[in-house]
Amino acid sequence: MYRLGIDVGGTNTDAVIIDEALNVVAQIKHPTSDDIYDGILGAIDAILSESKVDPKKIHLAMLGTTQCTNAIVERKHLEPVGLLRIGAPATLGVPPLVDWADDIAKVAVSVAMIGGGFEYDGKAIAAFDEAAATAYFESLKGKVNSVAISCCFSTIRDEHEKKAAALCRKVLGDDVHVSISSDVGSMGLIERENATVLNASLYKVAQKFTDGFAKSLSEHGIDNAKIYISQNDGTLMTMAHAQKYPILTIACGPTNSIRGASYLGELKEAIVIDVGGTTTDIGVIQGGFPRESGVAVTIGGVRTNFRMPDVLSIGLGGGSIVRQHPDGNITVGPDSVGYEITKKALVFGGDTLTATDIAVKLGMCQIGDASKVDFLETDFAERAMTVIRNAIENGIDAMKLSSDDADVILVGGGSVIVPSTLTGTRQVLMPNYFGTANAIGSAISKISGTYEKLIDYETLPREEAIEAAKKEAIQMAVDSGAAKETVEIIDVEDVPLAYYPGNTNRVKIKAAGDLAI
């Protein structure tokens, strides 16, 4: 039994096959095509012939893709959406999409705000205005095939959103796509509503890549496989779920890369350094999952409440240009020859001194023609390497959380420029298959559930409240396909509500487990 992991990036589509013991059997890179389907098809072709694995023996197939991110950033292939917000008379002072740029705001062709919604404690603000909802959906006939519904405190109670969704299908037919905010985002109406509108506008993009993936699999005889799509928290969702909630694929790339590195390095607590041609991304893996950033995420200029991995990017990569200034100072980057490294770097016969040339001169790696860098003075090369070392060591120091030495996993094509011993580290691992960490991260992902609620610890003591919430989260993971005995709690967060009597806390629990096969 095998797993197939595919990562569709901007330049390359990577594929890996992993066996039952989670060992990598084969990896390949294939150019990404304009039509994602062709790229995936080519990648599957290549990985099957490379690995010689019987397609019938592939039981799990995972896809990570930036299609949705690209669609939003490039404002392409987005479907027109009708937005219904339930919450009046509250929320009327903050109209939907008020800070969206015009070129993206136009995806919402129609917006209405109607009575309903809830208070923080679940009390209704107003009765759900069924007549107004019906009239609004009637007005959408012939205009849109996709509807987003948001509601005040729907993360506490989702009845009004669900009622509205049922009405919407009744009026517009079962083929209409409906996104409700309680399924898409967490606390914070505006960010959750924004994500819901984006989600609704992506449904065709999602249909295209999921259908494309399924079709490329079956064309290669991979017809025994359960299909999963990577989401941004480092866990998986089913294809049906991805079609409903494509927005959850946003930013799965860095997450998969960090998780893949963690897996390859066999470490659950480590600093992951991904060195590319132009930049180096430094992330942290904690308990097997990337540490999240505390910053609100904007996608194509739209603010959402998704969490992204906490990544420090520095302008240093294999193609970084090395310069000596008149005052004797040496700088490395932040500008780079990028993908033209195979033309422009000295070792490839070019005329630009790059970080890779320095590494070759110092014998750290064998790339291109080493004689082309003979003329460089060793002292100069060593000083340039000190600049590189300082940049990396400062980055590690900024990301690690205690003064203890950390384990470091080094991945990415540019990682040859990094010295193998670094101050502040216990060890620097350069695992095999480091080039396809993305696809590996996708293939080894778990399946999760997240439970979130406002709880007053004076009514329900903290320990009991968290215990109950953990059970809910575990059940949610099992409902999504996790094997119950493997489910673990991976994140517990409780934040007290400021300016608030009693002891009301926002409790958020995430559980994840291995796929039940």
Binding site: G93, L189, A398, M399, A498
Partner: protein
């Protein structure tokens, strides 16, 4: 007198996040409320306090309750009209202008929305020059002005006017009603005449906030030696510490968010440790056991790369930040001011020393 529109709102909101000194709530939702009102009703006229007639009725506007709830419920459309009507009727006089009660956090934005919706001007002043957690912590208290009559309304149309015997009672009664109304309401309080405003308000703080916001937005294009230098120069801030968040201890008592953030130094502060204690707002900053700043001077924690201020709610393990100190409004440095908002009021056993003095001490020790 000048107009403020969408662009100015962006900058004021960013500056208000810094003046929030960790508290006051993320101005983001407030910004959307202000933008929504300005898009619907047009730009707002901002008055210099000196342009306000001495006998004009000036009304500060704010939200009361949990910013987290505000970020879910926003506000309705009618609250400011209701407040305007209630207060005008109470005084038998037209309101001349609204103003913010606090320039820090979400409350910096709501008066802009109120002014846009009512078509009246806003005064370029507030009662704190920053954000503070309790209702009596305004410069107007030093001037002997009462918080009441205080008008309160929710988005459903419930409303009340409180006339209380002390500001402490105002706080207590208003909090109880706020909870029943769903946890976030709109209020007006400390109504005053133009002459009093000129005597006790923190003047031109909205403009200051806008300048701070513009400075943060432009920090990468300033031509200074580094973004950090540009940030410190533009904000006239003291760099207290650069570090990463190693721990955040939180506790909720009596409706406030108490806590302490522990930082480990990076870059130039490598090897040092620092902590910032807070009660909604940041109160005391210590580096290696030495106090470098205390309330009422402003202690703000900003992202080390974007310089965007981080509220105490959003402090997260691992985040790289710079702790900066800013001088507070001079009236806070008087004995009366320190009694209201000095470190001892918040239970910190230290005497207030101006940040510029503490920083001098720090340098001579080196």
């Amino acid at each position: 007198m000048r107009k403020i529109g969408l662009k100015e709102i962006e900058d004021i909101a960013l500056g208000a996040a810094l003046l929030g000194a960790g508290g006051g709530g993320d101005p983001y939702v407030g910004k959307l409320v202000a933008m929504g009102a300005v898009k619907a009703c047009g730009d707002v006229t901002l008055l210099d306090p000196e342009e306000v007639p001495d006998d004009a009725l000036i009304v500060p506007i704010a939200m009361m309750g949990a910013p987290t709830i505000l970020s879910e419920k926003g506000i309705g459309g009618e609250e400011y009209k209701t407040l305007h009507k209630m207060v005008s009727q109470f005084y038998g006089k037209e309101i001349y202008a609204f103003m913010p009660i606090e320039a820090g956090g979400v409350n910096s934005m709501l008066p802009i929305a109120a002014c846009a919706r009512l078509g009246i001007p806003m005064v370029d002043a507030d009662g704190m020059g920053r954000a503070f957690p309790e209702l009596q912590m305004v410069t107007f208290t030093i001037g002997g002005i009462k918080a009441t009559p205080m008008a309160l309304t929710d988005e459903k149309g419930n409303c009340a006017i409180f006339d209380t015997i002390t500001n402490k009672w105002t706080e207590e009664l208003a909090r109880a009603v706020t909870m029943s109304c769903g946890g976030s309401v709109s209020v007006s309080l400390y109504c005053m005449d133009g002459a009093t405003l000129k005597k006790y308000a923190v003047k031109n703080i909205v403009t200051r906030s806008e300048q701070l916001g513009a400075a943060i937005r432009n920090v990468k294009h300033s031509g200074e030696a580094s973004p950090e230098a540009a940030f410190l120069k533009a904000t006239e801030g003291f760099k207290l510490f650069k570090g990463k968040i190693a721990d955040v201890l939180r506790e909720t008592r009596d409706g406030f968010n108490f806590g302490k953030v522990v930082l480990e130094g990076i870059d130039t502060d490598r090897g040092k440790k620092a902590s910032v204690t807070f009660q909604n707002e940041n109160l005391v900053a210590e580096v290696d056991g030495a106090i470098l700043a205390t309330t009422p001077d402003l202690i703000a924690i900003v992202d080390s790369e974007t310089f965007i201020p981080v509220t105490t709610d959003a402090l997260k393990y691992g985040k790289r930040v710079i702790v900066v100190g800013l001088k507070c409004f001079e009236l806070w440095r008087t004995p009366e001011g320190l009694e209201l908002v000095g470190p001892r009021y918040f239970g910190c056993d230290v005497d207030y020393q101006p940040i510029e003095e503490l920083m001098k001490g720090g340098e001579t020790n080196v």
